[in-house]
Symmetry: C2
Subunit: 337 residues, 2 copies
């Protein structure tokens, strides 16, 4: 019965396929190098709504509808949706799902949510609990700034280690026995806290979690970084990416050229003023459900290890002097056709 | 492969057992009728910490440790923990889990979290993805008041429809093939929004979600309320409970004497000044993982239908004029020995 290999990784007996994916982005995402890989880009940060929070819900609505369209499915064909976001009480997800009538398990994994939702969707499909499951998340620069830092009109100065929360959403539709790249392995992360207290240095706070989960994955699967066409963490940005490389180097493991981070891909870090790179649930969600899955097909990649990370802080925890714990959830996506 | 019966309910092939449970409460919970059913009661609302938010994390830590002790297990024996809470970014759960090293899937289901965590834990065990999984949640009157309404020292006046957020936590340890009551069916809820905009009337906002999920459950399992020894919703309180009764009555279904709500059980509503009753994730979590599971054993109940509800609002969504969507996740717990 048990499907666990090693200490922390699950190998799926019936790997579910990503049968459709969709993403949506805002103005900055449209000015970045991945613009061509978005299904929809909006110049209007309100996405036609009156507030940015409602805009974020609308992004999730649209991205789910788009994924359903691409798959030729209706909402009632979907057994479950796993979704979450960064907003207090995850209102981005819950308000977006009001009109769909799809059974919904709400998640909170901060910026690891795309990994967490894909993991749980895969496990439920592998376990025979459904036929079609959606995995979805979003973030919005203006809702995140207001909630975590300062309202945007305040013109707050950003520190050099800061990242730019992506205004973006992504959705994957998974099916038991469908056509498309399949999820073959899932590694659930632990809460890792190395005592970083600077809430403006999320990369440093989350890197140890990425290292922990990826180490467990390599050990459990008896593989090394060179066995994968691409390893992509979620939104560690420039600093966090380099810390992961260093942490593995200390173990004698070279992450190599095929290790990247979605926070390095979404924007042009030379031209766009994004400091350490992109962040937010929507960063890895939109990069995966556009660029990465398209590249997998176009470049005939066989194995993509996707491992988004989340910083499990809140403004309250930081005000109370707490450090920033991180978590990283990994899924292995393979092209088998 | 598919385990779905009817439209929304899953019947488990290998029902996992609740091998141990634990709960913890505060002063008001210790003055209520269920005081004898708590593992630990604290007169100190800070639980030895400097802030109420840290107190809430400490409650989760203690309740997980207590459940592990009762089961004679260590943290490293646990494959996953599913946990979440009401605090922004769910810091009650993530900070509590820093020292355990257990792979963690974070949830946000508002006050339905005990149902959601039990559901996902059961599905993963039934699917063979682990041997031991913990399901846990908490709430704290003072953290919830500060976050959703007013800081407690402000002495805010409460409306008659208001409920009292329980200062409590509960944890269930589930095992594949263990000894104890088993979870045999799981019904995942949908987001239901009937347009209630009064954030101080959560019972009315959540009742339609309870009605929706319980209706689906009865239909899918071809059963009626009389088939269960007890049906307990989570924290609808007096008003929400009565609305559920009315909604079913309109369908010609009598919920009957065996339908109750954890929000009606936790406090003495005649003696304690709790208005419409208890609420918060910790309400249903502590009532289930104490009173209800003990009663199941002592009164030889065969079937307990546990269906906690969550209100998926945030202060921001209410400020922006939004209504209050609700969700309800149900699990059927059966005594088979």
């Amino acid at each position: 019965m048990e499907k666990k290999i090693g200490g922390q990784t699950l190998r799926l007996s019936h790997p579910p396929a990503i049968i459709a994916c969709a993403n949506i982005g805002g103005k900055q995402e449209g000015e970045g190098p991945l613009a061509d890989y978005f299904d929809e880009l909006s110049e209007d940060s309100f996405f036609g709504e009156k507030t940015w929070e409602k805009a974020e819900s609308t992004m999730q609505k649209r991205v789910l509808n788009r994924a359903l369209e691409k798959a030729g499915l209706r909402a009632k064909d979907v057994d479950f949706v796993f979704a979450g976001d960064l907003l207090n009480q995850c209102i981005g997800s819950s308000f977006s799902l009001r009109d769909f009538g799809i059974p919904f398990y709400g998640l909170y994994g901060a910026c690891s949510t795309m990994g967490e939702s894909l993991a749980l969707a895969s496990l439920l499909l592998d376990g025979g609990f459904g036929k079609i499951i959606a995995a979805m998340t979003s973030s919005h620069f203006c809702t995140a700034e207001r909630q975590y830092r300062m309202p945007v009109p305040y013109g707050n100065q950003r520190t050099p280690t800061a990242q730019w929360t992506a205004t973006a959403a992504g959705c994957s539709l998974l099916a038991a026995g469908g056509k498309g790249p399949v999820i073959t392995h899932v590694t659930c992360g632990k809460v890792i806290d190395k005592g970083i207290c600077d809430a403006n240095n999320m990369g440093a706070a989350m890197a140890p979690a990425a290292y922990d989960t990826l180490s467990a994955f390599f050990q459990d699967t008896q593989t090394s970084p060179g066995d994968y066409d691409l390893i992509a963490t979620g939104d560690l940005g420039r600093l966090g990416h380099d810390i992961v490389v260093d942490l593995f180097r200390a173990d004698g493991i070279e992450m190599g050229e095929n290790y990247t981070d979605c926070g390095l891909l979404l924007y042009d870090l030379k031209q766009q003023d994004m400091h350490c790179g992109a962040s937010g649930c929507g960063c890895s969600a939109s990069v995966l459900n556009g660029y990465l899955l398209r590249q997998m097909e176009e470049r005939s990649w066989k194995k993509l290890l996707f491992a988004p990370t989340g910083a499990l802080l809140s403004p309250t925890s930081s005000f109370q002097g707490e450090s920033v714990p991180g978590i990283c959830h990994a899924v292995l996506i393979e092209q088998r056709s």
